[in-house]
């Protein structure tokens, strides 16, 4: 079997196992947390009697392992179940229905950010390596380090203040819905995307720069230089192919962050992504929704890491022929 294919299959298998473990851990932690869905929803209105009635209605009066088995049985059949919210009525809210639009929004924002941020940071990183220790290098470094060191909500407030309140170029609210058209969606999501770009560029840029500079010291780069290859060409043709592995890892890491870790930006811009959904679901102990979100997040990490590894293998032929 082709080694890449073999790795992929192996990793996917392990990934499934990881997902199973994640689901058990999440379920157990939710059980350990004090309070339940009924208490969380009814708040001060939770008397023992109303809580018992609520739990009966949504089936929370049954033992935990029964509920888990029922849930995982559904998942194996491709059914993620129903949110506890509104479960008492005749129109139930299925988890997939609840998550789909929000997941789309999250991927939309992540993609929009990635399309700008990844090429930008690669370009900045390669240029920084090329003109190491120049004024350009220093300025790029200090600017990106400043933006990564500033909390994202603060960047968000600053952008909002300057570009939505002082100058009304953008909206302060990024509320989008299913009926929002593509252009409007992009326009509404612009400020959050800029915020996230500012947050992730530094990491990818610095890694690109560091990986290249590391390679510049290696003997074959010296050889290239000695035989008269121009510096620019040497970096792009000789150094960059060998630097792809660490860069891909960092890019994968940042892309994963864009999917799973942007709840603060979502809250500040009121962007209906999946992060806010999961936070709400955790605080109200809405188990089916929490589980589905957790599985999506775990799967995102697994798949992105897998693709980073595949990139490393493909760009480094030595890994294709392990001894």
């Amino acid at each position: 079997m082709h080694p890449v294919l073999k790795t992929v299959l192996q990793r996917l298998g392990l990934g499934l196992l990881t997902l199973f473990v994640v689901s058990v851990v999440i379920f157990a932690s939710l059980e350990l947390l004090p309070g339940g869905f009924a208490e969380a929803i009814l708040g001060q209105g939770a008397t023992p009697e109303t809580v018992a009635a609520f739990n009966r209605e949504i089936g929370l009066d049954r033992p935990a392992f029964v509920r888990y088995l029922e849930w995982i049985g559904g998942v194996l059949m491709g059914d993620f179940g129903y949110s506890y919210a509104g479960l008492g009525g005749s129109i139930k809210r299925s988890v997939s229905e609840l998550i789909a639009p929000r997941l789309y929004n999250t991927f939309f924002l992540a993609a929009m950010t990635a399309i700008v941020a990844v090429p930008l940071s690669l370009l900045l990183g390669v240029l920084a390596a090329l003109y190491r220790n120049s004024w350009y290098d220093r300025i790029v470094n200090s600017v990106t380090l400043t933006t990564i060191a500033t909390p994202e909500f603060f960047i968000a407030y600053l952008l909002m203040f300057f570009f939505a309140i002082k100058n009304k170029w953008f909206y302060t609210l990024s509320t989008v819905s299913g009926s929002t058209d593509l252009w409007e969606h992009m326009y509404r999501a612009a400020l959050p995307a800029i915020t996230l770009t500012l947050v992730i560029v530094a990491h990818m840029m610095r890694m690109t720069r560091a990986a290249l500079i590391n390679l510049l010291a290696s003997p074959y780069m010296e050889m290239a230089q000695l035989k008269g290859v121009p510096r620019r060409e040497a970096i792009i043709k000789h150094a960059l192919p060998n630097a792809w592995a660490p860069i891909a890892t960092v890019i994968a890491f940042n892309l994963a962050y864009l999917v799973v870790g942007v709840v603060v930006v979502e809250v500040v811009y009121v962007y209906p992504g999946i992060g806010q959904l999961m936070v709400d679901a955790v605080s109200s102990r809405d188990m089916p929704v929490v589980q589905a979100c957790a599985l999506i997040f775990a799967a995102t990490y697994i798949l992105l890491n897998l693709s980073a590894d595949i990139v490393s293998i493909i760009t480094n032929p030595r890994l294709l022929h392990p001894k």
Binding site: L33, P34, G35, A38, E39, A40, I41, L42, G43, Q44, G45, A46, T47, P48, E49, T50, V51, A53, F54, R56, E57, S83, Y84, A85, G86, G88, G89, S90, I91, R93, L98, P101, Y157, M160, F161, A164, I165, K168, Y171, T172, L173, T175, S177, V267, V268, Y269, V270, P272, Q276, L277, D280, A281, S283, S284, D286, V289
Partner: protein, 531 residues
């Protein structure tokens, strides 16, 4: 009133009705000696004062979760509560600006049999959003949904004395109570109790079809609700549509207001309120309501089982300091009487608790204690700034020889594990329409929410007697005594009454605000208009 004032008022009224142009009004005003800017402003406010139809009202609300549901039994936050008041739902009875119960879906109501029985006539010709006619059966089904054995509704506690609701013909409903209650119509103003269409005795809430002023167009939990004017609404409403956004983050909410994306935000940040106040075309929504922050002590647990200790603690807290530092002045001090001064029957019990460490010390001595060490469970879940308030209280009480150890509890499960369980903690209470409703749920000996575990025989006797008493003067005296007892003997420390603070664009017109709840008592969607 002088002749000029009378003429001026007439002119303003004419402007409001659109009968007097700006030009004519200005020339009249200037002729009577007014400056141009003053006259211009007066014109704008006069033009705003008369309600008119049209426009889409956008509100940014600091509540709302992805778990919010259209199920009326689960409404509990600032986003959902108004649905039953003035969005999709219409209640039997509304509360007006003077805190009186006025019939709404009901046409009239009258007590019988010593207020043990209430006869409600239902307004004829009301239709639900789907065109079905509202009948007495729908009313009965709605009420039963909340009081039935399988009910999870918080309204079940509110209606605990209600034995049955029965239809008597198509437009009469008879409520039977287990004991007389002269305030029963007020209980039906609870926001969970809005009317829904029913089939076979079961209500159908799933599609959000009610009889209220707005037809539900779309609802995304935790994000947005869009409503369109119900053309067949039996009451009066002005906006063509409403858009309600859930904006949890206070800075984002403020920004949304400042950039003009919404007309109104609730729960404005009092720390940065000056920024909002100085924004153009802004009116501060600042209403002192019934809501208050408390620090309940368990009267059955040492050391709080000694009334002298309870009083010592009451004297050892500087409430004015709390109002200044926690509410930034947007509120008023509490006097351990949970009834807001604007409520019917409320008294200001003597002596008014103020900060007096010496008095606290002497009371402690009376209890046989030199000094006192107590734990106070605090969390921001109890009210915003709860932990800071507790730390301030610890600072105040030190001067009286009381050492308060502030225990920081997690926000997440505060209501499950701390409130009602720890001997001394923090809590908040929202509005309840009547003295009886409030005392019955939070101070009566058998109340599920008796968070001070206070068992005062005289108080409980008075409470039941006053409920059925229809002689106003006697009732007034009974409630006064009740409040005095709570004030002197109870374990409830009412720290402060917090104002509802928000920002409202002057593009929106309104009349006097309700004080029982935020959002004009939940009626803003129905009562406000686009000026």
């Amino acid at each position: 009133m002088t002749e000029f004032e009378m003429k001026m008022n007439a002119a303003k009224k004419a402007v409001g009705l659109g009968k007097l142009s700006r030009r004519d009004f200005m020339s009249f005003a200037i002729a009577s000696g007014m400056t141009i800017p003053a006259a211009s402003m007066l014109f704008a406010s006069a033009a705003r004062a008369q309600p008119k139809q049209g426009g889409v009202f956008k509100a940014g609300i600091g509540h709302g979760q992805t778990t919010d549901s259209l199920d009326p039994a689960t409404w509990s936050n600032g986003f959902t509560f108004s649905w039953g008041k003035s969005v999709m739902g219409a209640p039997l009875v509304q509360v007006n600006q003077k805190n009186e119960a006025v019939p709404h879906v009901a046409e009239s109501f009258e007590p019988a049999d010593g207020a043990k029985k209430w006869i409600f006539k239902i307004r004829k010709g009301i239709t639900f959003h789907d065109g079905k006619t509202l009948t007495a059966d729908d009313v009965v089904a709605t009420i039963n949904y909340h009081i039935g054995p399988d009910s999870k509704s918080p309204a079940k506690g509110v209606l605990s004395n209600l034995v049955s609701a029965k239809a008597d013909g198509p437009d009469t409903v008879i409520f039977e109570l287990s004991g007389g209650n002269a305030d029963f119509p007020f209980l039906l103003t609870d926001y969970h109790l809005s009317m829904y269409p029913s089939e076979g005795g079961k209500i159908m809430w799933e599609k959000g079809i009610g009889a209220g002023p707005y037809v539900l167009k779309s609802f995304e939990p935790g994000v947005k609700l869009v409503g369109e004017r119900n053309p067949n609404y039996f009451g009066t409403t002005y906006f063509d549509g409403i858009e309600v956004l859930s904006i949890i983050d206070v800075a984002a909410r403020t920004n949304a207001y400042l950039s003009g994306e919404v007309h109104y935000i609730d729960r404005a940040d009092v720390k940065t309120i000056d920024m909002v106040k100085s924004a153009p075309e802004t009116e501060l929504y600042n209403v002192s309501g019934f809501a208050h922050y408390t620090a309940p002590m368990h009267c059955d647990t040492a050391p709080f089982n000694d009334v002298n200790v309870r009083q010592a603690i009451k004297w050892a807290i500087n409430r004015q300091d709390l109002v200044d530092k926690i509410l930034y002045g947007y509120g008023s001090t509490g006097n351990d009487n949970p009834l807001s001064p604007s409520m019917k029957y409320a008294i200001n019990a003597e002596p008014v608790y103020a900060y007096d460490p010496e008095k606290a010390k002497s009371l402690l001595k009376k209890a046989g204690l030199e000094n006192l060490k107590v734990d106070l469970s605090a969390s921001d879940a109890a009210f915003p700034g709860g932990v800071d308030a507790a730390l301030l209280m610890a600072e105040h009480a030190r001067a009286a020889g009381i050492e308060i150890n502030v225990v920081r509890e997690p926000n997440d499960s505060y209501w499950d594990n701390v409130w009602l369980k720890k001997p001394w903690g923090l809590c908040y209470w929202g509005g309840r329409p009547t003295a009886d409703a409030f005392m019955s749920i939070s101070l009566a000996a058998d109340a599920a929410w008796n968070d001070t575990r206070w068992q005062n025989a005289r108080f409980n006797e008075l409470l039941v007697a006053a409920r059925a008493e229809t002689d106003e003067a006697k009732r007034q005296a009974m409630y006064a005594e009740c409040q005095q007892l709570v004030h002197d003997d109870g374990g409830q420390i009412v720290l402060m009454f917090n104002n509802y603070v928000g920002a409202l664009s002057t593009k929106i017109g309104h009349t006097e605000f309700n004080s029982d709840f935020d959002h004009d008592g939940g009626f803003m969607y129905e009562r406000w208009w686009m000026a």
